[in-house]
Amino acid sequence: MRRSKSSSRPQFAGPGVTDANGPGVTDANGPGVTDANGPGVTDANGPGGAAGGRRRPRSVILPYLLVLPTLIFVAMFTIWPTISSLLGSFFLQRLNIAKYREPTFAGFANYATLFHDPTFYQVLGNTAFYVLGSVPVSIALGFLFALLINRRMRGIGLARLALFHPTVLPMVSVATVWLFLLTPDYGLFNSALSFIGYRGAQNWTGNPDLALLAIIFVAIWKNAGYYMIFYLAGLQSLPREVFEAARLDGAGALTTTRKITLPLLRRTSLFVTTIAFIGAFQSVDHVFVLTSGGPSNASNILLYYLWQVRFENLNVGVASALTIVLIALLLMFTVSNFLISERKGNLDG
């Protein structure tokens, strides 16, 4: 009852609530995790679930009519596209070659092309580097920011605004501003770096060794504040007594954070990690503005490559195969995070 009330009213108890409520409350883990779970879990927890004995009226036709519009759009733009990508990935179709304009069945030829394509491996490597470079740092910064900002102090609202505001800016705007920040010689980022003693290369977007890093920096700046608010909500739902006890025992701030705060915020971390990973695979707007995937594919990541193959190389077949690869990766992350949360939940119990 308590939980479902909180979910009907947005307050600063978001995903953090779970930690206070303990295990078994699964749906606050957020959409990414819960949906793997299906409605069964929510029902079991929710007051209106079958377990709670909610008497829901039986009706013959009306509920189907109510569900129909959503179902039609989901079928048209999620279910069917997934199936048609799978089918399309078995057909050769290249719009810029007359012979292959119409799709012809080719078995696994598109996948073979992909797995013999050095660029594909480069892109996969870049994607892994991008995701593993941006996600953990953004989350760690988000947690640190939350710790710092979780206090009463004059002007703390302004500080929160400063850290959070990139979240509501369009990624393309952010990237355009960073285009200047990363400019050699007089760009703000380079000025700041040389101020702290950096003497290395400055052409961030044009240097193959730096381009991917530039993309990562932008992602970190944009996302850290977003993850911060989940930790902030989590921190504020923690029981105070534990911290009082720790202080009486003479535990320092670092020990308290490591031994008490972080473990208690495990579920928040899992939730944030899930949305961060899924988000990282979906966001390529800054690649368009800053590097166009270059130089020589040094900053080309999966979704951008997918766009290139389809709309620049006009290779529909290989693009379909890439879509399937992308979907497989996304599902892998969602499902494995769900499994981890289940295991953690069992340990709690």
Binding site: S4, P39, P69, F73, V177, F180, F243
Partner: protein, 299 residues
Amino acid sequence: MAEASVRSVRGRSTGFRSVSAGRFAPRHAVGRLVLAVIIGAIALVWAAPVIWAICASLRPFEYPLGSGNIWFSHRLTLANFAKVGSLAPFGHYFVNTVVVVVMTLAVQIVTSTMAAFAFANYRFRGDRLLFQIILIQMMIPTAALLVPNFATIRLLGIYNTRLAIAIPFFGSAFGTFLIRQAFLGVPRSLVDAGIIDGCSWWQLLTHIYLPPSLAALTAFGISSVSFHWNDFLWPLIITSSDQSRTLTAGLVRFTQLGEIGAQWQYLTAATLIVAGPLFVVFLIFQKSFIESFVHSGIK
């Protein structure tokens, strides 16, 4: 910390609650000062890009950024915004963006509320299966499906229209999920009372289910508007002319115009035109925005 305990009694929905002692809370004045300086410095570093962008957009074009002070100039001007407006139809992009965002949200609210009501209020054959089918949308994000969706849009004959930008999002698994959760929180006794009073399904929905669920709808609305205002890749590939282009797609085209190059005053002015409207709304309703983002946990 005395101040904190005095002011700790605040309403639950008014935002961040007061903070308990013990977490990174120095007891000495010096420690507090050091902490304040650290927080201030980080905040300043984080805000610097946008502050700079605002400064640059107001900088007269005669003072290029390549030389000297990159922050301040002798005078300020709004001429860059006018010039940008003459180089590309940003007014038109703005209208397109508003149309797309409003159309998307309006349809989403209706479809999601209907579906959520069905799943929360009725038991029907296959309800679980249908719910799970809809939830697939949360596991396979629409962004990943741009290739097949592009083909569908061509097939429907609506390529390069505002409808094409919005239509893939008309059915929202996330909205259905969020609103259903809110509906399940409505006390059953209230629903039963409504049924006994002879409410039709429509009255049940509008009088019993919706009033206590408005917060969830707001949260969904804010996250939907933010997402679609800022979305770029889909509007980019599904439009081919200024007629239907949105602000984000227009901005990227603008940055690639030959005559723009590294003219930062124009670039920053254009950037602010694109980000500005939503950002101003965010500044006004900051608390609702942050609460909604936490509540919905999705961009």
